[in-house]
């Protein structure tokens, strides 16, 4: 054999390089490659002699070769009697592969004529329950399909034999199996759940749905109404938010005005006492020193503590005031509010600026309008909290 020649060449191990059994002979690694052939006794004579010499000295290789030979001899038990395939296997293969009429003629005919009709019907019940055709009917169907006389065979068998139509195994049963597949049923259930949840979130009630609602005009009207309601809700939210920061600003201004009016009274009432205690108390009371520094030089104090100074108007003039004029309805509302609250002119000017800022916001797209409104609101809150700390 070619394999034996190849492996025979490997057997010639140089002296002194062997695996350690004996010099000039094969070692265990070379013997391992020969185990298969040694178990089959297909080695050449020369190699077989070398193997015998090795196994006479190496117990491990001898046991392994004996084990492999034993396994092969056990396998020969299965080879003694050849397997006999079923007698109708060839006919089934030919019926599956070739559509020739000769394939159907080799199928064994079902032996059902000697069985009573009641027994035959009882035999068919499990197949009918699961939508399957019995083995006999499958044989008959294959044979009839191949020969083309299915109708004649069915009429000969009579109505007592439950023979499903020839199309049933290919259409109805397959469809039933497909629909009743667990994962497909799970997918259908998930799809139903998702659709119902989406409709519920969108406010669509299937019970209130009529055929007239599905007309294009009705659907367009419903969409427009939904959009208008959503838009009104958002605008209402912004209006409420504006009221919040307007009230906060007004409270801040009122508090500032109160502090401004009360500061000269305190300064004129106790100047000597504050100056006499300043050297001793300022080192002990940090709050007091902070107030003194803020009163003396508020700008320098703010820079020293890392706070921003109070904003001052950089650009002033009649043109800027005209640009910041709010619309007519806004001016009227501010005027009424000012009359009612009787606030000072400084606050009136600031309120006019806020109105001018709010004017473009109302006509901007709603998502972009959120940004300046939120920024203004946060800045007003920060100013008021800082003033509260200082107070």
């Amino acid at each position: 054999m070619k394999d034996q020649d190849e492996f025979g060449a490997r057997l010639t191990v140089p002296a002194g390089k062997s695996g350690g059994v004996s010099s000039g002979r094969i070692d265990c690694a070379a013997v391992e490659l020969l185990w298969a052939e040694a178990a089959e006794a297909t080695l050449e004579d020369v190699v077989s002699e070398q193997l015998c010499a090795h196994t006479a000295e190496c117990t491990s290789c001898r046991e392994k070769i004996g084990l492999a030979r034993s396994g092969r001899e056990w396998l020969l038990v299965l080879k003694q009697e050849p397997l006999v395939p079923p007698s109708d296997l060839v006919a089934k293969i030919l019926a599956n592969t070739a559509d020739a009429p000769e394939a159907a003629t080799h199928l064994p005919t079902p032996v059902m004529s000697s069985v009573p009709a009641a027994v035959r019907v009882r035999h068919e019940i499990p197949y009918r329950l699961f939508g399957l055709s019995s083995a006999e009917n499958q044989h008959a169907s294959i044979a009839a399909k191949s020969t083309g006389d299915h109708e004649r065979r069915v009429s000969d068998e009579g109505p007592s034999v439950a023979s499903p139509p020839i199309w049933q195994p290919t259409s109805v049963v397959l469809l039933r199996r497909t629909v009743l597949e667990p994962r497909l049923a799970l997918v259908a259930a998930m799809a139903f759940f998702s659709i119902s949840l989406t409709l519920n979130l969108m406010g669509v009630r299937l019970t209130n749905l009529h055929a007239a609602d599905l007309e294009p005009q009705s659907m367009r009207r419903a969409v427009t109404r939904q959009y208008a309601e959503a838009n009104a809700r958002v605008v209402r939210y912004y209006e409420n938010l504006r009221i919040v920061y307007e009230v906060e600003t007004r409270v801040h201004q009122l508090r500032q005005a109160t502090e401004t009016s009360s500061q000269p009274t305190q300064t004129g009432g106790k100047p000597a006492k504050r100056s006499s205690n300043s050297t001793s108390d300022s080192s002990n009371d940090p709050t007091e020193s902070h107030r003194e520094g803020l009163a003396a030089n508020p700008e320098a104090h703010g820079k020293q503590h890392g706070m921003r100074p109070e904003p001052k108007p950089v650009i002033t003039g009649p043109r800027l005031d005209a640009a910041f004029q709010p619309p007519a309805w806004r001016s009227q509302s501010i005027k009424n509010w000012m009359d009612d609250a009787s606030i000072d002119p400084v606050f009136a000017k600031q309120e006019r600026v806020l109105g001018a800022l709010h004017f473009p916001v109302q006509f901007a797209p709603q998502p972009f309008a959120c940004v300046p409104i939120t920024t203004i609101c946060f800045s007003v809150r920060r100013i008021s909290s800082r003033e509260r700390r200082l107070a």
Binding site: A39, L67, G71, L75, V77, L78, V84, P85
Partner: protein, 221 residues
């Protein structure tokens, strides 16, 4: 040769020199394939009749079930019927090509039914590979001595069960070599592994089978 420490079954013929595949039969099969490719239905029928035993035997030895073997045999020939035009007669042997197809389907079947193989079927033990239906027919088989026939049948069942417990990689190599008489080159071509690996797997498979049967023998004794 050293002394074998493991007892082999009695009454088994000695290991004979293995004969290579008959070139005449290979040539006849290739001629049948050529005729079949030319549209001869009778040639296809001859191919099925001449090869179905071999395919069925291979499937049964690997799966251990007559029902699975029958289904797989039909699947193999269906696949052969569909892919026969892709087979090149000049390039290789039809036997090797058919065995490769069978082996691929067996591997697919093994992967598909791996979870089911952890449990035994209620029908286990009722398979009758010889197709004999009644116990009387089994006893009155082709053997003259019913007792010897029963012993042989039990021995075959024992070896078949032990073979199914061998790992699939080793099992397929052992089956192709010792039961299908394929040479190492053909097995290497079918399994797509080197010849050295084929020899190693065959040897390990035989040793594993012998160990399993020795263990069973000790339990019985």
């Amino acid at each position: 040769m050293g002394h074998a420490t493991h007892s082999a079954p009695k009454g088994i013929p000695a290991v004979k020199q293995r004969m290579p595949t008959d070139p005449d039969s290979v040539e006849q099969t290739n001629a049948l394939v050529r005729r079949c490719l030319q549209g001869d239905n009778h040639a296809w029928r001859q191919i099925v009749e001449s090869q179905h035993r071999r395919v069925y035997s291979l499937c049964y030895r690997f799966t251990g079930s007559t029902g699975n073997a029958e289904d797989l045999t039909q699947d193999v020939f269906l696949k052969v019927y569909r892919n026969l035009k892709t087979f090149d007669v000049e390039r290789g042997s039809f036997h090797t090509w058919l065995t490769t197809l069978t082996r691929n389907l067996l591997v697919d079947h093994f992967r598909r039914t791996r979870a089911e193989q952890t449990t035994d079927s209620l029908d286990a033990g009722w398979d009758d590979p010889e197709g004999l239906s009644s116990p009387a027919e089994r006893i009155q088989g082709p053997e003259s001595d019913p007792l010897q026939h029963c012993i042989d049948r039990e021995l075959q069942t024992l070896v078949q069960r032990a073979l199914l417990r061998v790992s699939p990689e080793l099992r397929e190599a052992v089956i192709l070599r010792d039961l299908k008489d394929m040479d190492y080159k053909e097995i290497a071509e079918v399994l797509r592994i080197p010849e050295g690996t084929v020899k190693s797997r065959i040897n390990r498979g035989r040793m594993e089978l012998a160990r399993l049967l020795e263990r069973t023998k000790k339990q019985v004794m």
